[in-house]
Amino acid sequence: MSDPDEELAALVKKVRARDPAAEAALHGRYRRFVERRLAEARERRNWFWLDDQEDAVQETFVSFFAAVRDGRFAFEGESRLKGFLVRTAWFVAMNAKDKAPKTRTVSLTVGADDDANVIDVPSFVASASDRLARRECTERLYAAIQSLVDSRRDVVLRTLAGEKVREIVKATGKTAAAISGLKFNAFKELKVKLEENGFVRDCGADTFSVAAEDAS
């Protein structure tokens, strides 16, 4: 390890020992680096949801110091330290993105053309991780949706994509009463299909009953 690295290694060791002066030294040294990376990524990627960049910088360092103290970060050179800071800043930014209003929708369709805002349903269903034990449940749910008649399936897929009734009205040209009525009958039919294909028994026992409790 070079001399500058040895100095850094010593600082990191002190942070692990909860030395506030060492934390302040590392913060002072790399604050601008994190700030610049966040600012440039924010501009390039249009992170309109990142309201408070300074807050994100501080949170990055808080998380970084916690990782050092917990032994989740081991110093192996300045390059790795910077890489870890970038990784931490990414997680902080993504948490902020999760909290932003969900205004973005995607279209759900079968056999989609290549379009960044369209999810091809069969591909998405097949990609649901088995390790999350959800692929089979997802397949049953989407199979039930696919078996609905066109108008009902369309309303359900749009609901899944995050569209509200008024947005579905605008997109389809139908009246609000027609869409609400379609939605009611679609959900009624879907519930029967999910009971028949074992989704409620095998997968929905938790989600369905929790959903029913939340619904009441």
Binding site: E40, A89, R104, S127, A128, R131, C137, V165, T207
Partner: protein, 252 residues
């Protein structure tokens, strides 16, 4: 002390579309109809069943990310730390999920930001200076985007009050497409901070935070947009407006 008025439940079962709206907790449904549901076992069961399906769909909806791998796995994939079937699993999901692809693109931007992006910014800045200089020599085409308006910084497409502030949206021709400028000012004309999102056909097209009370978007294609404005510290929209880039603006 007077007791609050009790709504008498309707004797008639609500229609299916009304039941759906009651299940959706639509505040505009007649109170008598809502009261009926709480006294009618059949209607109450129908509403509960609707909400159960709705909540299940929410859980499995792609945008809530319950079917997505943990972000630490996305990071590990990008860092070359995943192998075997786990790697295949995550790659397969990435190919199918625009939300995860968005996250990975954000990571790429963070990792590759640095000197090259500064060079690009300087180059853009230099180009902008040259364009501005040329603009004095080459007259820009007269905008005919908003009827009855004159070209200045652009043609005023929207002017309306947003609480105690004033929103103005101007349109002008750009090198390609249309340029949009939105500005929010207080009663004294001082600029106010805001965030603006522009959507078309339900898809988010642009979202930006104001610089000095102003948002400038270039290269908008002609079409009908929904403009949503947020004030700092609030997740509820302060203003929602429909905007026809080649016609008159209409309020939402």
């Amino acid at each position: 002390m007077t007791k609050p008025a009790v709504t008498k439940p309707s004797n008639d079962h609500p229609t299916e579309d009304l039941l759906a709206r009651i299940a959706d907790r639509d505040a505009e449904v007649d109170a008598a109809q809502v009261a009926h549901v709480s006294t009618c076992a059949t209607c109450s069961a129908a509403v509960s069943a609707f909400r159960a399906v709705d909540a299940t769909l929410s859980f499995f909806a792609p945008r809530w990310r319950n079917l997505c791998p943990d972000r630490s796995e996305l990071f590990a994939l990008r860092s070359g730390e995943l192998h075997g079937f786990v790697k295949q699993d995550v790659e397969k999901h990435l190919a199918a999920c625009p939300f995860c692809r968005d996250d990975v693109a954000d990571l790429d931007a963070l990792e590759t930001a640095g000197a090259p992006s500064l060079v690009v910014r300087w180059a853009k800045g230099a180009l902008s200076l040259i364009e501005n200089a040329l603009g004095d020599l080459v007259p820009s085409p007269a905008p005919a985007l908003v009827r009855g308006a004159e070209a200045s910084e652009g043609s005023l497409a929207i002017a309306r009050a947003v609480g105690d502030a004033r929103l103005e949206v101007l349109l002008a021709p750009a090198r390609t497409g249309v340029a949009l400028v939105a500005r929010l000012t207080d009663a004294k004309g001082e600029p106010l901070r805001f965030r603006m999102e522009l959507a078309r056909d339900g898809m988010l097209v642009e979202g930006q935070e104001s610089e000095s009370g102003r948002v400038h978007l270039d290269e908008l294609a002609a079409g009908r947009y929904e403009l949503v404005l947020y004030r700092p510290g609030s997740r509820a929209p302060a203003c929602e407006v429909s905007l026809d880039v080649r016609g008159e603006a209409t309020a939402a």
